[in-house]
Symmetry: D2
Subunit: 284 residues, 4 copies
């Protein structure tokens, strides 16, 4: 069944959902699933509506145009799109291929509805994995000397690729602050710890030393503050005394893959809304 997605957040007031659902009903739209949440303290309204596309009297373009004035009146951030429309996602990787290969597999199998215009890496290691899927691979080495320039080059590739989202799939470089600022809620990172534990480098080593009994991974939007951006999804796995640091790496890989795959899926299906440093995630 084809579905049209309306995602919206705006200052709260009485009658908001009525206005929105009236609008959809006026277009003939039948609702399949609605999530609405009000952050009462912040006075902010969040909603996601799944509409049966075939019941709508107009196409997505028209729907969007018609909704414009209401969205403006509400002071809303909003989007309307066909669930089948495939956002364009650029993947950034270094040498570790576990997240990349998991995403590629899910993408091939139809779990992740997006286009992958290209993969960018600071190493050549994963080129074969990417090219055998027919996806262009760009190698942009990063060194302390060329860092600023390298990231300009990357951003330029993102723009050329018309990227809706950039996913740092264990890309081991810290992005320049100004790059993060230019792509708010459009840079997704997977951090290999259960944040806010073990912010920064070598989280598995530090988890081992601390002797924690669960390790985890965190999918979040990257912001200028390292590992401090809004959290989308987290996953954990139990570890025991007999697990070496090497075992933690192995077990963590599955956490990272699951947290990133779910976080990305939520993003691609318009389930994630951001306000300040928290996410509203209408999970599936």
């Amino acid at each position: 069944m084809q579905t049209t997605l309306l995602k919206i957040s705006c200052p709260d007031r009485v009658g908001l959902l009525a206005q929105i659902t009236n609008f959809i009903a006026a277009q003939g739209g039948n609702l399949k699933q609605v999530h609405q949440f009000t952050d009462v303290h912040a006075g902010w309204f969040f909603a996601r509506l799944e509409i049966e596309t075939l019941t709508l009297r107009c196409g997505v373009e028209d729907l969007r145009a018609t909704f414009g004035p209401l969205g403006a009146e509400l002071g809303a951030e909003w989007s309307v799109r066909a669930a089948g429309a495939r956002p364009r996602v650029v993947l950034m990787v270094s040498k570790l291929g576990h997240c990349l290969s998991d995403l590629l597999w899910r993408w091939r199998s139809g779990e992740l509805e997006c286009e992958i215009p290209c993969v960018i890496s600071n190493h050549e290691t994963l080129r074969p994995l990417v090219e055998r899927e027919g996806i262009p691979f760009h190698h942009i080495p990063v060194s302390p000397e060329n860092k600023a320039e390298a990231f300009l080059q990357m951003e330029s590739l993102w723009t050329q690729a018309q990227a809706d989202l950039v996913v740092l799939a264990r890309y081991m470089q810290i992005l320049p602050v100004e790059v993060c600022a230019r792509w708010p809620a459009r840079l997704m990172n997977i951090h290999h710890s259960f944040l806010p534990s073990f912010v920064g480098a070598n989280p598995y080593q530090r988890a081992y030393q601390r002797g924690v009994k669960l390790i985890g991974a965190t999918c979040h939007y990257a912001t200028a503050d390292l590992d401090q951006g809004p959290i989308i999804e987290q996953e954990v796995v139990r570890v025991e005394h007999f697990h070496s640091e090497h075992d933690l790496l192995r077990l963590g890989r599955d956490c990272e893959r699951m947290a990133l795959a779910r976080g990305l899926r939520y993003h691609l299906t318009d389930r994630v809304l951001v306000r300040e440093n928290r996410t509203i995630v209408f999970r599936d």
Copy 2:
């Protein structure tokens, strides 16, 4: 913050949620959280709306009266009530006290907003646990000879207690078919297995013999078909070869307590809707 809850299910059609939210907006009601789901195959609409009580121009009674015609027109099953209104829940127990003591603790601590007019058992074992909480305890022995009569007596107590719900908290008797039929979606049971595995007696023993690696518990509405009613919540825990049947009983107790406590909480907060043999649970 005080909340008023509207729960509704009815045949699906375009504009339903608009009609309902218009109605609430017309009463001044601000929405705090809305869940709406359409079972497209069944053509059935389900929704739960949390309204900030203080924004409503009228009281719950009036709201209910005013909603009546719309509810009738939609052919809906629906309820409107203050979240603070405390449904009346009769607990049925036998000799095992783990679910009972967990529910009593959650009730005392405010996690479960309900009244417990009485506890009924076929044994005297748990009387002290109940009476020290100031709750009346009724002992109704059940034997093959008196079974029909005993259950009539129990039903009579339920009715006297004005029970909105009866919870079989490890009550080890099978209820007569006609009793189940008279209390649809108002009899909640906790079964000590991960249904549909190990329907019937001695599930932990059978789980041990089968060598499963996870055991569980199932909270469901009791129906005339033993262990076949609509499932509300399930919980599992990992077990290993070194766990004896006795260990399974111990580990299972925590599953049973969690699944029952959550299932009951969902029911008490109007999060459970039933259609045929499936539940829609808008979880919290």
Copy 3:
């Protein structure tokens, strides 16, 4: 660090572990990790010992030869091998590639220490996925008419491949009883339900219809009784009312991949011992 693994099960008696550890100490072997469990009711002893290879005065062959008489005296099933020795694992698949691609990725990345001499399928679908890894792919169609013959051909390939283990990675054919009997504890299957729920065909469809709140997957040794063999590992995931049958398939894939990958890893690291229809799994 190199490790030598001793796995043993035999009738219980006093002093067994002392005899075994004396034997290892006499060879200079330092123990890294020992698991021992006695099934007191069955009177059966199970143990797994990890020995630091470098501390041993003799090689694995000699160790095995020297242990022979003790093993015989104890009436034991036992094995001694270098942890690095790579068992030979034949994979059987049909059209669904999720388990296959997960196993291949884990194998490439070193998580699964084994050889994969070939993959066999009753369809051509997955040939490219296999051949791009440099692994031979055999297509053996199975029809009601040729079934006996086809399985003889497969068994012959298993034998030629010197298979230590055959993994049915969503191979959708039921194996002939006599084949199962000839490969006891050497045929590993992944069943797409939380056994013993939904034995047989279409488990996701039946899970949807029953309205369960958790679905799962079961890794077990195949025996002549369909889906009744000893369970090695199980995994579950929470599902909700809004998940369609199609969603259950998607969510179940991750369960299947995890349960199979872990079960296979346990097997490859000599962590699984079988007695009657239960497994002893010294998990890592």
Copy 4:
């Protein structure tokens, strides 16, 4: 079945487990379950042996006396005791009763094999909950002025009670450093966060603000460094955007109860060994 427990840790060397199991076999002891682990980097050996008491030729006292010389020769920390011997556990609480009532229930039901000679609190709040179980309750108020004196009084009560372990079951005071130093690995705390996240005060508030998607609890031995002691057990639960801080408190309670109950059970069954700041936990 009666069981005798031998727990031991010492510098590693070849033949250790053989020596220990020879000793037990010489006393006629049959082993029911053995866990042994060597921390190869630290060169340290850890083991726990469950012996069938009825097979032993001598009593626990004699076994202990006989093992003494071997233990001394190995430079070991060790203990031998009957599994049925009930360690004496003093509980410390403030105003929150959820951990206390959970522990009391598990203790009454036989899940926790220990004596509870008394409960100590800095408030009167929980006195009824304790006294109705027939357990003495001591109220020792703590203020900035009397803190040193109050803790001397408490320690004196611990000593009078012949406490083997003191459990801080949401006791909201920070213990003086010198108290912690005098009771190494005998002070168990439950911290209401997934350590090392949210060390210190108000972890649920900070978890809410950070927008984490899982919250947790940590059972650990208290040391002079606040929330830095060796971790015994951790538990987590998923949270979502619609959970208020109040909801986090509620959901966290179940995490705290489970993590503390399991950690305490591991301790009481001699499953926890400590070396430096890490625990070896032979879980059940």
